[in-house]
């Protein structure tokens, strides 16, 4: 029952995606889109996601888009910092590897955290294993925002997840 509901939801999302691709729309696009979306949705929800579906609903999706805009405020200053490092003739880097234990529990949150770390200049996620995240940073100071939990709080707020109900 849950699988069927997932199939319907995914097919609607895929149909919208198809309509975006086929933008100057005509009637045959609507039909073909529906057929393909239904088929791809069927394959995904009954075959690919049988073991574990990505827990990604409409609310989280909106949160992810918000998170991308939120990221910009994090990325741009750090990017300028890295630009200064690269352009500096003496190349002042002090690479370190730090291992960080995350408090986030869900798969979606952890993956979002890993990719946020990778996209934030100065830190790069090297490994994610359970709640242990191995981060390579250009200099120890780049990891400050991560270590004091600011990044995690932002992700939780954007995705609209309260840690307690997990």
């Amino acid at each position: 029952m849950k699988t069927v509901r997932r199939w319907v939801q995914l097919s609607i999302a895929l149909w919208l995606f198809w309509l975006v691709l086929a933008m100057p729309l005509d009637l045959s696009d609507l039909f073909w889109g529906l057929a393909v979306a239904g088929l791809a949705g069927l394959g995904a929800s009954f075959f690919l996601w049988r073991r574990q579906a990505p827990g990604l609903g409409a609310r989280n999706l909106a949160g992810l888009i918000f998170h991308v805009f939120d990221l910009v405020r994090l990325i741009v200053p750090a990017a300028l910092q890295v630009a200064r490092v690269v352009l500096d003739p003496s190349l002042p880097v002090q690479p370190r590897i730090i291992v960080y234990k995350t408090l986030l529990r869900g798969e979606l949150e952890r993956v979002t955290l890993a990719n946020t770390i990778t996209l934030t200049p100065g830190t790069h996620c090297v490994d994610l294993d359970g709640d242990r995240i191995t981060v390579h940073c250009l200099a120890p100071s780049f990891a400050d925002a991560l270590v004091d939990g600011r990044v995690e709080r932002r992700i939780l707020r954007s995705l609209g997840i309260s840690q307690a109900d997990d």
Binding site: F17, V86, Q94, T118, H124, L138
Partner: protein, 108 residues
Amino acid sequence: MLAAVHALIVSFLVIAGAAFFFIGTLGLLRFPDFYTRVHAVTKCDALGAGLVLLGLAIWSGPDGEGVRIMALIALLLLSSPTAGHALARAAFRTGLQPWTREDGDESD
């Protein structure tokens, strides 16, 4: 007037994106080891390509092309860090040692 502002915003975004690409290239060539290079490249590519494509999406307006470029940006923001992470993890798990300043020179 409005057209001029529009063109100005687009040009600014595209040039800023190109500048980030340049920084990424510089990082790829200058940094001492693989891990620091992957740093420079993932960010600057995602940011550079994102800015250029955002400028192009604004330029072509909210018709079919603009929407498709936004889809391209979404793919890029997802694929670039994932690819960078996958590559770094492969190197890390197979035992490629990161360079540190104490070593004095490259460790490969």
